[in-house]
Structures are given as structure tokens and as C-alpha cells.
């Protein structure tokens, strides 16, 4: 079905009929989707949450297929998604609860019953609470459908220290766009005519739906595509132009673009007048940021900056400067993202087809559980005091670790971890190990023996996503969806879903009343308000509810109040000024690369977006070991050739791995992939293989959001 025709149909009769022919609009007319037989569920291998249909044979999961009914999946399931089967049948996965029997990290474990693991953990948590108060416990997790239960246990226990992953990921981009537009929009890559990406290697480090739309927009419709990156990535190879920008100078490039657009009066004046605040201050602010000045900072010729700025403005509103996802690069990351947001606003691409679009949501119900008392102590990361604009609910990871290590403002002595491997996801592994050492208790809930689990006192084995049912999740977007993750196969080992693990602890901690429900009751309450007849039945059968047509322009209404302090799109931010930050993005040059050193830059690839994926056989097959990328010019100077073993050393750690000499990186940078050099022998394919980037990364964070700044580390490289 033609996409436009589908929109017309879906917007009228389909909802009333109650049988939703969900999105086929991303497919060409001749390619009618075939919905595979099997049990629909939702992938958990990365944050994209693509819809999956699991095919079983003889009670075993045989194959995972994409579910074409979810528009966000864009009809595909990537290599990571397919490899989920191997997590279930991994002979080395966690199979029952374990209590440490030797020293931390020694690898001596005692298999125990669930009752013993719960009793032991509850006793340890209670001891810490008795001595230090509930604030003496830390509860950290990464995103997931059952994360809510883990967080709720920490809050019901009385701890203010609930620590989520955004400050290791996209907190700076979320905050920057929220402070400008009052929300974090989607980028309509499918319909854009002109796309600029800086460092977001979207063709290679897959993010659906953006990667698929980029293929549709750039490759099929021949949209103009400009790419900035110190590395020549797969995305660079598909772009019209690749500019190996000097790292840390993206803000200079963006400010110069705004300078050109305003100077040549190519901005969308009517839009700026009607919807924004602070245009005059912005115009004055960008005057010094000329293309000639930016050329000296970025290494990109002034004439190219001018040309790109003109073409970008002239293509608007179907022109976007893409925000990226994992954004944490420099200590001024927030201001760089703010400048992106402002550049987009200046050309008036807000809420227009092919521009930036505020997300729609599919409504759903909510399970009402008992509320607990607010915590009495402030957060240990002092987020309210030092990062007043950041999300107080998520916290700031690196400042938190530093405070815990100092014991300030109070001691934190127990650490519960869910679905996260801080020894790899947090910079400076040595300091994270120190934090573990100074804990009286560490408990981990995971499906595999991660490095952090390896150093824990108790390990709770969680059932794999294909073995459990999770809450319904709403995926906001231009084409929003609500998805269900439901059990496909019974657990093959003595594992439990996070909710049941939490309930076992809650019972022993006297918090039973707060968790007195089942996952079925939870899902039923959520399904009750899905905007479709027989919502529960529908979402169990289809795995997804998705039928909204795109709504462009709903917020381009004079009476619309943006969710900002002023109610307008804030080019100039009073709130930033009040918090002591620059109200308009001010350029500060990055630290110069010291003589004889290299800036370490990070990135991802399609099979390895998360550290936990590298040991899965199908993914490991594609990349068995990481190496360090080095430009031929410094490599020759250092006498290094491809395949040589080299030592890479920062101020906080040193690792050994093989060298890859390549022209696909700037001479002042090195690059290595994430997820190797594991300490846990249970991850045998990557145990001691290659090196962990977290060992080298130094502690630095963005000043406004507290987001970890991952490109502020300089290293020496030497042949071994």
C-alpha cells in the first residue's frame, strides 16, 4: 500500500474497525508485508525496542523475525536482534542465584536458593540502612521495561540515590533540546532534503528508525547529506561530503552557520517572530563567529561553511542538523547541542515535514501502586545543587561516583545494579573498581556474568526477555507505537523476571505492600486505555498498537504554549542565565592535544552498540577483537604497523591491543571499539581479548547536564 494512502485509510476507518492494518507505509507498493507466524514480542538488545515475532520449533526458539506491524521497527530486525536467541541458549549464562565464596573478583561462587539470596541481600541492605540510613544505598540501572520495578524498590526503601543511564548517554542532547523547545523532537529523515550529521555514525551504529529512514531519504531520494567526523566511517562513505572536522569544534561550525544564515537574512523570519524568544540577542551573539574564524577552529574551509549554511537554509524546512543519540563527548556538550537546536529553529524546520517534529504518543493506562514517602536525605551526587537543570530523577553518574569515593556528603555503602555493567559503561574503570571495593555490599541483577557481576557479592539471574512478560511501553515518535514484550518460552534455568526478584526482596524488607501485584495485573491496567477495542487482546496478538498518522504543524499555532519558562522556543535562555550558564551557546576551544599524544574518540558499530553484545557468537564472528586505529603518519613516526601489539596509556590506565594503521582517521586521534577486554571469564570469547576503553577514559563531564564527556582523554601509543 502506498504510504500516503495508508495514512488516509488509517486515519479514518481503521481505528473504528478495531483491526489495525499497521504500518506498511515504509514499504514500496509491490512489497506487501507478510506477517510471519509466531509469538509477537519486543526486542531488548538495544534501546530501539523493535517488534519481533518469535518462531518456535519443538518448544525451542528457532528464529526471530521482524514484525512489520510496528512502524518504529521499519520492518526490520538487525543482527543484534537476531542474536538474542544466543543469549537464551548461552551455556555460560547465569542459571541460578550465586553468593560470592572468595574475595571479590576471585571468581569463587556458591550456588544458592532464591530464598538464601534474598535473605542475604535483605540482611545486608538492612545493615547498611541501620548504620547509614536508606541514603547509604545506591540503585543504578539502565533502561528497560522492568527497570521501573527496580527503581521503585530503591525509592520505597527510602534511598534518594536512584541512578539511571542518561548521564552516560544522551542527557546533554535531551536537556539542550528540552531547554530550547520544551521537548526532545524526532528528526524526519525520511522526508528531509538536506541532512547534516556530526559524529552520529548512523549508517553503521544502527538506530532504528533513523538508520532506515536515512537509507530511504538519503540513498533512495538522494537527499543532500553532509557528514562531519574525525573518522571515515560507513556513514562518511555514503555521504555527499565528509569533513574530518577537528574534534571538539562542532560548536564553532554550527555558530558560523548561524552567522551566515542571519547575516544573509536566510532565516525564517515569520517563524522566529511568532514562536521564539531572544532573536536579537542571538543575532548580536553570533556576529564574531565568522566562517573565517570557524575555519581556523574546525579545519573546514570558510567557503565550504558558507556554502553548506546557504544550502541548508535554502532547503528548509526540509533540512535538519541531526542531534545524534549517544552524545557525551566534551565538557561543553550541552552548549553544542543547544547550538544545533537553535540552528534548526532559525531555519524554521520546527514541526514541519522533513524537519524536526515533536513526538506523538499512543495513550495507555497505568497501574496504580502505593506511593511511598519522599526520601529524607538529598541525593549523594548533589544534582540539585550542582546541576540544577539536569534530571534529578536520573542523577549524574560521574559526579556521583566521585562523591561516593570521597564519602561526601555522606557514606554510601551498598550498591544494587540492574541490567548494567558500570565497569564498561562508566569511564575510568579503575575508579569504578575502587567504588566497588569501598562498598559493604554489591548486588547485581543480570542475564550474564558481566564484569560488574564478577565483582559483586550476590548475583541474581534474570530471565531473558524472550522468557518473560514486561510492562507495555510507549515508543514516542512521528509514528508512535505501544508495544508489549510477552513471554515466548518458559525459562530454561532457575531465573526470574526483575519484578519477582524485587518482590522477593521487598517481602523481606517490609515493603510488600508496594509490590503487591502481578505483571498480568500491571499489563491489564495499561492495556485498558489503549486507543483500540479489546486493547489487551489486540496487543497480545499483534505485539503492537500503532496507527497514528503523522501530525505536522500542530504546535505551529499562535496559542500553543511551549513547555519552556517563557512559553516560547528559547533561543536565549533566562533559566540558563539564572543557573550561572551561558544563555546563548558560547564557544570555548577544546583542550589542545599535547605533544606526542592523541585524542581518544569512541564510536559504535552495527553489531556492537553495547558492551554486553560482544560475546554473542553471531556478533563476535563479525568482530572478534578490537584494535586501535592510528593514522599512517604518526604510525610511521612511531614505527607501528598494522597487527603490531601496542600499549595505549592515558593518565588513568594502560592497555595493550593490536594496531590498525589506516587513513580513515585524523592524525591527531585514535579510535577503539567498546566491549572488549572483559575481566569475567564467563564471557569467554572476549575475556582478556582486546582492550576495554573504560580503562583509559578519564573522568570529565559536561558542565550543564553532568553528562560524561567521553572525548576528553589524551593517550600515548607505543609499540610493545
Amino acid at each position: 500500500m502506498d504510504r500516503r494512502l495508508f495514512m488516509q485509510v488509517a486515519g479514518t476507518g481503521a481505528l473504528a474497525a478495531g483491526s489495525i492494518a499497521c504500518p506498511r507505509f515504509f514499504r514500496k507498493a509491490e512489497a506487501a508485508p507478510v506477517i510471519p507466524a509466531g509469538i509477537p514480542t519486543t526486542c531488548e538488545l538495544c534501546p530501539n525496542k523493535c517488534s519481533v515475532i518469535a518462531e518456535l520449533r519443538n518448544g525451542l526458539i528457532h528464529k526471530l523475525n521482524p514484525n512489520p506491524e510496528n512502524p518504529k521497527s521499519r520492518g526490520m530486525l538487525c543482527a543484534r536482534g537476531n542474536a538474542a536467541i544466543q543469549q537464551v541458549y548461552d551455556p555460560d549464562r547465569l542459571k541460578q542465584p550465586l553468593i560470592r565464596a572468595g574475595a571479590r573478583g576471585e571468581g569463587k561462587w556458591r550456588p544458592v536458593s532464591w530464598e538464601e539470596a534474598w535473605d542475604y541481600t535483605a540482611r545486608k541492605l538492612s545493615e547498611v540502612k541501620e548504620k547509614h540510613g536508606p541514603q547509604g544505598t545506591l540503585w543504578s540501572s539502565t533502561e528497560g521495561f522492568q527497570e521501573v520495578f527496580f527503581k521503585n524498590l530503591g525509592m520505597a526503601f527510602g534511598s534518594p540515590n536512584i541512578l539511571r543511564h542518561p548521564s552516560l548517554c544522551l542527557a546533554s542532547v535531551n536537556l539542550a533540546y528540552s531547554m530550547t523547545f520544551g521537548t526532545v523532537p524526532s528528526f524526519d529523515l525520511l522526508n528531509a532534503d538536506f541532512v547534516i550529521m556530526a559524529g552520529a555514525n548512523r549508517f553503521e551504529s544502527i538506530i532504528t528508525p533513523d538508520t532506515m529512514d536515512l537509507i530511504g531519504g538519503v540513498m533512495e531520494r538522494k537527499a543532500k547529506f553532509i557528514y562531519l567526523d574525525p573518522r571515515f566511517t560507513v556513514t562518511a562513505s555514503k555521504a555527499d561530503e565528509w569533513h574530518p572536522i577537528r574534534p571538539g569544534t562542532d560548536l564553532a561550525f554550527i555558530l558560523a552557520m548561524i552567522h551566515v544564515i542571519l547575516k544573509e537574512e536566510r532565516q525564517d523570519k515569520a517563524f522566529l517572530e511568532a514562536f521564539t524568544l531572544g532573536y536579537e540577542q542571538l543575532a548580536e551573539h553570533v556576529k564574531p563567529y565568522t566562517p573565517e574564524w570557524a575555519e581556523l577552529e574546525t579545519g573546514i574551509a570558510a567557503k565550504d561553511i558558507v556554502r553548506i549554511a546557504r544550502a541548508f537554509a535554502d532547503s528548509a524546512p526540509r533540512a535538519v542538523f541531526y542531534a545524534g543519540r549517544r552524545s557525551s563527548w566534551y565538557t561543553n556538550d550541552f552548549q553544542m547541542r543547544r547550538a544545533q537546536a537553535i540552528l534548526n529553529a532559525v531555519v524554521g524546520n520546527w514541526d514541519r515535514q522533513g524537519g524536526m517534529v515533536p513526538n506523538q504518543k499512543v495513550p495507555k493506562g497505568e497501574f496504580m501502586f502505593l506511593p511511598w514517602d519522599d526520601p529524607k536525605a538529598p541525593r549523594v551526587d548533589e544534582v540539585e545543587k550542582n546541576f540544577p537543570l539536569a534530571s534529578a530523577k536520573d542523577g549524574v553518574y560521574l559526579p556521583l561516583r566521585e562523591n561516593v569515593l570521597k564519602g561526601q556528603p555522606y557514606p554510601v555503602k551498598a550498591w544494587m545494579v540492574y541490567k548494567q555493567d558500570p565497569l564498561h559503561s562508566v569511564p575510568d574503570q579503575g575508579r569504578t573498581l575502587k567504588m566497588i571495593e569501598q562498598m559493604d555490599f554489591v548486588g547485581v541483577i543480570d542475564i550474564a556474568m558481566s564484569d560488574t557481576a564478577w565483582f559483586a557479592d550476590v548475583v541474581f539471574p534474570e530471565s531473558h526477555y524472550l522468557e518473560r512478560t514486561d510492562p507495555i511501553e510507549v515508543l514516542p515518535g512521528i509514528w508512535p507505537a505501544a508495544v508489549l514484550r510477552q513471554q515466548v518460552a518458559k525459562p530454561i534455568h532457575d531465573t526470574k523476571p526483575c519484578l519477582e526478584i524485587v518482590q522477593g526482596l521487598a517481602k523481606r524488607l517490609g515493603l510488600n505492600d508496594f509490590f503487591d501485584y502481578t505483571i498480568e495485573q500491571w499489563v491489564e491496567a495499561e492495556a485498558r486505555e489503549l486507543p483500540i477495542a479489546n486493547g489487551l487482546e489486540h496487543i497480545k496478538k499483534h505485539g503492537v498498537v500503532a496507527f497514528s498518522e503523522p501530525k505536522y504543524g500542530a504546535t505551529r499555532n499562535p496559542v500553543n504554549r511551549f513547555v519552556t519558562k517563557s512559553g516560547k522556543i528559547e533561543l536565549f535562555s533566562e533559566r540558563l542565565q539564572e543557573a550561572g550558564h551561558d544563555p546563548l551557546p558560547k564557544y570555548t576551544p577544546p583542550a589542545a592535544v599535547p605533544e606526542g599524544r592523541f585524542r581518544m574518540v569512541l564510536g559504535r558499530k552495527a553489531t556492537i552498540t553495547h558492551a554486553g553484545l560482544t560475546h554473542l557468537p553471531w556478533l563476535h564472528e563479525h568482530h572478534k577483537e578490537n584494535d586501535v586505529w592510528l593514522n599512517p603518519e604518526p604510525a610511521a613516526r612511531l614505527g607501528i604497523r598494522t597487527g603490531d601489539l601496542v600499549e595505549v596509556a592515558s593518565q588513568v590506565g594502560r592497555v595493550r591491543l593490536k594496531a590498525r594503521v589506516t587513513e580513515e582517521i585524523r592524525p591527531d586521534c585514535i579510535f577503539m571499539l567498546h566491549g572488549f577486554g572483559k575481566k569475567s571469564p564467563w564471557l569467554k570469547r572476549v575475556h582478556g581479548v582486546g582492550a576495554a576503553d573504560a580503562v583509559l577514559l578519564e573522568t570529565a563531564w559536561d558542565k550543564v547536564s553532568g553528562n560524561a564527556a567521553m572525548h576528553e582523554t589524551f593517550v600515548k601509543v607505543a609499540k610493545v
Binding site: M155, M368, L370, P371, D373, D374, A392, K393, D516
Partner: protein
């Protein structure tokens, strides 16, 4: 099967505990003008907002749909300080919750209003 047994138990318990206060308020015929200085529980406010207010203030409900984003902080303060509620301006009578619960709701709505530093919808 009752899907909310714990909730009902707790709600009943709280209701009993507040009975004396409620009776006094009802006798005096007071609505609940709340000063801006009062600090309630954000967490509980979210719960009581959903439990009490959202029975009517939903899309297609008997009253205008409301989330914290529906008003600015000043507008929410005004609503509560003036005790404005209902078509006849009858205020927040005890049927909407105890004074503590109304204060919690006020705290939640102000903390997450449209112009607040931490704006949010009420979920769902």
C-alpha cells in the same frame, strides 16, 4: 479478583487516620486555601492526582483534561491558593482528599508545571 488489594487496604487506613481532621474541616465548611510555602510530597502528589483528579480530568471525562503541563507554576498556585475548583468554585472539599493529599497534589503540579525546571506529563 481485586487487582488493588494493597492499595485499598492502605487507602482505608489513611482515610481512618485522617477522619478526625476531616470531620473538623467539614464542620467548619472550609475549602483548602494552601499557602505557596507548604511543601508536600511530590511522589504521593502524583499518585493522588492520578487517583483523585484523573477520574474526571481526562480526555473525554466530565471535566477538562489536565496534566501538570496544563498550567504554569503561578497558575497552579493561584488555583490552589484561591481554592478555585469546580464550576461553582466550591473548592477542594474533603471528597477530593485530605488536606495533606491536596497539598501533595499541589506540590506535584507546581513542581512539574509547564514552565517548571522539571516539566512532566502525569504518565500513561
Amino acid at each position: 479478583m481485586d487487582p488493588f488489594p494493597a492499595f485499598r487496604r492502605r487507602f482505608r487506613k489513611e482515610a481512618q487516620m485522617k477522619l478526625t481532621k476531616l470531620a473538623v474541616i467539614a464542620l467548619l465548611g472550609l475549602a483548602l486555601p494552601l499557602s505557596a510555602e507548604e511543601k508536600g510530597s511530590d511522589t504521593k502528589g502524583k499518585f493522588y492526582f492520578k487517583k483523585s483528579c484523573k477520574t474526571c480530568h481526562v480526555k473525554g471525562g466530565s471535566a477538562l483534561e489536565l496534566t501538570p503541563l496544563s498550567k504554569t507554576q503561578a497558575q497552579w498556585r493561584k488555583v490552589f491558593d484561591a481554592g478555585r475548583h469546580g464550576k461553582a468554585g466550591e473548592g477542594f472539599s474533603p471528597k477530593f482528599g485530605t488536606p495533606e493529599q491536596i497539598r501533595d497534589i499541589k506540590t506535584f503540579l507546581i513542581n512539574h508545571a509547564s514552565d517548571s525546571p522539571q516539566p512532566e506529563t502525569c504518565g500513561g
